[in-house]
């Protein structure tokens, strides 16, 4: 690695490559989003959109990637790739890039726990730039004027603009690295827009070899615990009452259940912290590694509002937050904030929502009566 080539090696060529993510026979939504974004970038440059998928027994998944926008799909299908593991996946990707005549111009991964594990290793191996957790991507020119490093001076066409929120989302930073390909980025799940599926789309599928050595197998996956079915109506409910560590114990969810029952279409949500503590099953988890929800009303009880929770619920129509800490981050994006103790506020909410229920029941009667 000491004899690696220099950083500055500008090359305007190359395609866009998306690294697909699949789990338990399903392409992950972030991959479809990346194909949507990657398609736009590739079209802007007049290049192709390539995609690589790794796993075991992948069946029809490569075709699906074409239906969602890929022109070329590289497939690595091997038992050793059944579960995501850093080193085997890294090896396959490194070998693929080494086998290409020119490196991709742009290389995109999801900023999931997989993408953020794998992308930095690839970037470090190829000594190239990587922007984390982007919320916007674009292609455009860039003129570098700073003379600190004269080798970088110049006007560069077709650079990847990787745009990411920073400093607790108070700033947006545009990060560029046109000097070397692939220009890499991970993108935040749920942000980019997938293309509509088009089963008539045609593309090429290439199988690529999987050659692992013993070094690549230093880690084994002993157990994967993952919620498969989404039988819960969390994503469909109009009202979600969600509980966090502030509940103090799992019994707190009984109170939240009562509150939820005041509404026609309701479900119980939770933060990851309480799911980890075993207070409530995984299916209830809202956030980056749980579900993304968009109810009409989200009531957050004793949830601090960590970024990983926020990305799963910030698009709710109305967010009411109850927290005893006035500095809790959740008050930065909730609509109605109540500073107080859950065990005093929630019973009062139940009482007053019940009163509203009766009122609307009465209202209903009076309408009938007036006819």
């Amino acid at each position: 690695m000491e004899n690696d080539p220099p950083i500055v090696q500008f090359c305007p060529k190359g395609n866009v490559l998306v690294v697909a993510e699949q789990s338990l026979g399903q392409i992950q939504p972030v991959t479809l989003e990346l194909l949507g974004a990657g398609r736009i970038l590739a079209d802007k440059m007049g290049k192709d959109l390539h995609c690589v998928i790794m796993g075991y027994d992948l069946g029809d998944l490569p075709n699906q990637l074409i239906h969602y926008g890929a022109d070329v799909v590289y497939v690595a299908d091997d038992e050793a790739l059944q579960y995501y593991r850093t080193l085997p996946y890294r090896r396959v990707l490194v070998d693929l890039l080494d086998s290409l005549q020119e490196p991709p111009h742009t290389m995109l991964l999801g900023s999931s726990t997989t993408g953020r594990d794998l992308a930095p290793r690839i970037a470090a191996h190829f000594e190239t730039g990587l922007t984390a957790d982007c919320t916007e991507l674009d292609i455009g020119p860039y003129e570098h004027k700073s003379k600190v490093d004269p080798t970088k001076l110049g006007l560069y066409p077709n650079c990847l603009y990787a745009i990411r929120p920073s400093f607790g989302e108070s700033l947006k930073a545009r990060i560029l690295g046109p000097w070397k390909n692939p220009q890499m980025a991970t993108t935040r799940p749920g942000v980019m827009i997938p293309l509509k599926i088009d089963t008539s789309r045609q593309g090429q599928i290439h199988n690529i070899p999987v050659k692992l050595n013993s070094e690549d197998l230093r880690l084994i996956v002993a157990e994967t615990v993952k919620e498969v079915s989404s039988g819960l109506k969390l994503t469909e409910a109009e009202v979600i009452v969600s509980g966090g560590y502030g509940l103090g114990s799992k019994e707190g969810f009984e109170l939240l259940e009562q509150l939820a029952n005041c509404f026609n279409s309701n479900a119980i949500g939770a933060s990851r912290k309480v799911v980890d503590l075993g207070w409530i099953p995984y299916q209830h988890q809202v956030g980056q590694t749980g579900k993304t929800v968009r109810p009409k009303l989200y009531i957050a009880c004793g949830i601090s509002g960590a970024i990983q929770h926020r990305v799963g619920m910030s698009k709710s129509n109305i967010i009411i937050a109850i927290n005893k800490d006035m500095d809790a981050p959740i008050f930065k994006f909730a609509h109605q904030g109540i500073i107080g103790d859950i065990y005093q506020i929630v019973p009062e909410l139940i009482t007053q929502f019940k009163a509203l229920q009766n009122k609307s029941a009465l209202g209903g009667k009076s309408v009938v009566g007036s006819r």
């Binding site: 000491e2 220099p6 950083i7 789990s23 080193l87 890294r90 726990t113 997989t114 953020r116 594990d117 930095p120 290793r121 470090a124 190239t128 990587l130 984390a132 860039y142 490093d149 603009y161 400093f167 607790g168 108070s170 700033l171 947006k172 930073a173 545009r174 990060i175 560029l176 230093r218 880690l219 084994i220 002993a222 157990e223 994967t224 993952k226 005041c262 509404f263 026609n264 990851r272 590694t289 749980g290 009409k296 109305i318 009411i320 006035m326 994006f333 909730a334 109605q336 904030g337 109540i338 500073i339 107080g340 506020i345 019973p347 009062e348 007053q352 929502f353 509203l356 229920q357 009122k359």
Partner: protein, 277 residues
């Protein structure tokens, strides 16, 4: 465990979020203006390192890269029970991106000597990329466990639980290895009396201090300056833009009886159609 473990932990000094971080026009941080603190995520990494020492025996080495004041975070690790530290400080490191940072830390780790386990924080509160850990692991050709919530060591193997979408994974990895510790790991315990006393003694005696916390530069560790700082960084922050508030202009209700608080909220929202009857 047969032998005594060499445990490394990487800690970064970051601007205190409470105080407004000074930003240079080019988007890099003006560290002179900002108040400083130990990256909150690194507290979990430190706890993991100290726990490993306590449970399995060994020595904890803390490593930081940053300007001279970053020695504060290394002293903090010693107050908590770390044994020694290395501060890599060099003007040529200014404006390093994650690739250049990981290169410099890689050279520092090699300089610091033998290791069995390296702990990193999940991410920082300033750069916030979560990339340095895996990039360092790549340089060192190590297996890694990222998003680690819990772990133990058995027969020279790491047994670890890591976060994945919709659940978790249990993995078994060989040593040596690199672990990035999630913020759902155990919080950092209080400073030890012994550690606090040790730091007091060190601060009175600069010569001993330099023995326990070595301040080093690129020449000492034999790092290539062209791979560090702005020069060694393939990315630059080309522009920053203020986003302003997160959109939620939160209407706050406080300091009243629960009855009045809830009345107020109901007056501000129209939830009638959602309640069941």
């Amino acid at each position: 465990m047969v032998k005594s473990l060499n445990i490394f932990v990487l800690v970064k000094q970051v601007p205190d979020q409470g105080s407004k971080a000074g930003l240079n026009p080019d988007g890099t941080i003006d560290r002179a203006k900002a108040k400083r603190m130990l990256n909150p995520f690194d507290r979990y990494a430190l706890q993991a390192a100290l726990h490993t020492k306590k449970q399995y025996g060994g020595k904890v080495t803390a490593i930081s890269m940053g300007p001279p004041p970053a020695i504060e975070v290394l002293l903090e690790t010693i107050e908590h029970g770390a044994d020694r530290g290395f501060l890599l400080s060099d003007r040529r490191l200014a404006a390093s991106d994650t690739l250049a940072t990981a290169y410099a830390l890689y050279k520092t780790v090699l300089y610091a000597g033998q290791f069995d386990l390296i702990f990193c924080g999940l991410q920082t509160t300033d750069g916030d990329t979560a990339q340095v850990g895996p990039q360092l692991a790549e340089r060192l050709q190590l297996p890694q466990v990222t998003y680690c919530e819990d772990f133990s060591l058995e027969n020279d193997k790491i047994l670890a639980k890591r976060i994945i979408e919709g659940g978790y994974q249990k993995v078994v990895s060989s040593l040596p290895g690199l672990i990035t510790v999630a913020n759902s790991y155990h919080p950092l315990e209080y400073k030890s009396f012994k550690g606090a006393w040790r730091v007091q003694q060190l601060q009175r005696n600069p010569e001993n201090l330099q023995k326990i916390i070595q301040t080093i530069d690129l020449d000492i560790i034999g790092a290539d300056p062209d791979r560090c700082g702005l020069k060694g960084s393939p990315t630059i922050v080309a522009a920053t833009e203020k986003v302003g508030d997160l959109g939620g202009n939160c209407h706050m209700h406080e300091g009243k009886s629960p009855y009045d608080l809830v009345q107020e909220v109901l007056a501000c929202t129209n939830l009638q159609e959602l309640v069941s009857n």
